[in-house]
Subunit: 348 residues, 2 copies
């Protein structure tokens, strides 16, 4: 059993507070990991505050984890002691359904063990996430991280990064494609970096005109203010793909009208209220809406390798765990460029 210092939400209304517990005994296929950094994802707030209605407490959030292997089980040979590893949104899955067999574990049709606010494969033992000093996981679910990158800025790749990388790869977005990235936050800024790296013509679509300079700095080729009626009307049917990263309520029909015939709106953000989609936004141009969720193990490793090769990381602000509640408030105000990352040393 691995003594672990963490921060947890004790109930839906509460601030996060210190929490000490023991991680599971090292199983024969497990690695014990000393956490170095953990990114702070908007879904941490939704779940810590009980906003998705499926929260169990105490809850240690965090699923953008970078750490170092401290120990490994008798049959664990994938990572050496001292290796850097990344752990994303899930720490296990059924391994037998068609999605698991095809390396799309994120869509596991059996039981997926989310990194926190989930349960292990026994479907009883709660999982606890990365706002903590240590974690123990099956070595298959720990990915290799290159030591050449800034590790604090690697952490958000495990959720914000793969959530935008995966659909861009799945739909083969690249040269010759006009890509819109709706919302310039934790997900959006990674979408811009990947879209540009893959050769697409990238437009940031945002309600904040003041994000234009940042969009350009990130490499975007164009900027569209979503509540500028004239600009929106000029951009009608312009995009082959738009990735919608916005988790606040917004008019999706307005966004759909920016998409060309046979183009696709890829939804990765989850607004609190289900959006109304008018059939007339889809039918007269044979438009599509698709969801996409993080990525599988193979694809997440591919992304981490791609990022190491192309020097891509997240833009981060490193914080002490003591600042987590303030960080949540700042995220809700959109006051972060573009990801808070907890320095896990501050937990000790």
């Amino acid at each position: 059993m691995l003594p672990t210092k963490a921060y947890a939400a004790y109930s839906a209304g509460d601030l996060l507070k210190p929490f000490e517990f023991s991680r599971r005994t090292l199983g024969e296929n497990d690695v014990a990991v000393e956490i170095l950094y953990c990114g702070v994802c908007h879904s941490d707030i939704h779940q810590a505050r009980g906003e998705w209605g499926n929260s169990t407490f105490p809850m240690v959030p965090g699923h953008e984890i970078v750490g170092r292997v401290l120990a490994r089980g008798a049959r664990a040979g994938r990572h050496a002691i001292g290796d850097l590893v990344g752990i994303g949104c899930f720490v296990d899955s059924c391994r037998s359904c068609s999605s698991c067999q095809e390396g799309e574990e994120q869509y596991c049709q059996g039981h997926i063990s989310f990194t926190y606010n989930g349960t292990e494969q026994d479907q009883r033992t709660p999982t606890q996430g990365g706002y903590s000093s240590h974690i123990v996981v099956d070595e298959r679910y720990a990915l290799k991280v290159s030591p050449t990158l800034n590790l604090s800025a690697v952490a958000p790749l495990l959720c914000a990064g793969i959530t935008t990388y995966s659909p861009l790869r799945h739909w083969k977005v690249g040269k010759g494609d006009r890509l819109g990235i709706l919302g310039l936050g934790g997900l959006g800024h990674m979408g811009v970096k990947f879209g540009v790296a893959f050769g697409a013509e990238v437009t940031v679509i945002s309600t904040s005109p003041k994000k234009k300079a940042d969009a350009e700095r990130l490499g975007a080729h164009d900027f569209l203010v979503l509540n500028d009626d004239e600009a929106v009307s000029k951009a009608a049917e312009k995009f082959d793909y738009i990735i919608d990263t916005v988790s606040a309520e917004h008019d999706m029909n307005r966004v759909l009208n920016l998409i060309r015939r046979d183009g696709t709106l890829i939804v990765v953000g989850v607004p609190p209220k289900a959006p109304e989609i008018h059939p007339f936004s889809l039918i007269p141009r044979r438009r599509r809406i698709a969801g996409s969720m993080i990525g599988g193990l193979r694809e997440t490793q591919e992304m981490l390798d791609y990022c190491a090769e192309h020097d891509i990381v997240s833009d981060v602000e490193v914080i002490s765990i003591a600042d987590i509640n303030t960080a949540y408030e700042r995220m809700i105000r959109g006051d972060v460029r573009y990801r808070f990352v907890i320095d896990a040393k501050t937990l000790k």
Copy 2:
């Protein structure tokens, strides 16, 4: 000018009544057509009653037309006098946009001239539809109809037929695919016939258990009652594709859960209120929703030829024009199997 006897809606609240007018002078590329049959589509009701908010009156509905060429213009050589032709949902389009150039005129990004409740390419002259004795159209927009089929039962192919044929072809639905047809009406019954003909395993999904026998008679392999919780739960993630033909309000999230990972819900029906689509119905299985609208000229001709070759027509009840208002009431009650078709002789 071609004297034409018709039935029209004079205002949004009114019953349809006799209406006499003159069709346009025969242009050099036009054919003058004596109408034999015209199908009655649910969208006729929506528009005649002003339910889509874009109606102009007087309005002669009808866009499922089968007729015979009476005369042709000086440069019209595509059809001979006496030939059978079909006219569907549009009678002209801009011919220069990318959709028109690619033979997808139904998605014309310029001006499409819908067969009624639209305007000609001058964007002023109102178009009038097939509840009439005659029509004059550019010969390109009249399709060839085989004399081997029952002509009254061919008429609905021009809208109900192509609306289901086109998405099945576009998404290459066939052998090895599990196809759900949601709603067994004018569109749905054609979806079943085409799905079966293309080799898919077809399930009719309906809220009316009493439609089961009909579904089987039409060739469906299975039947699912949408409000049977147990059956729906057993069918979760079963379908590769579902074609949603329902134009009444319904819970699309319940339908989406029947679709497998990476499967597609194809929307061809237009409910009065925009459905709420929860992102969690899409994201955790990377599901897709797509719209689809009728078909282009080339594809509609391909469908008419396919139907002649495979002996596929609509199931119809032929009515006199005097019964049109009663027919509307019966359609709203779902009391038609599966399409009313006006015998245009009754207009004379």
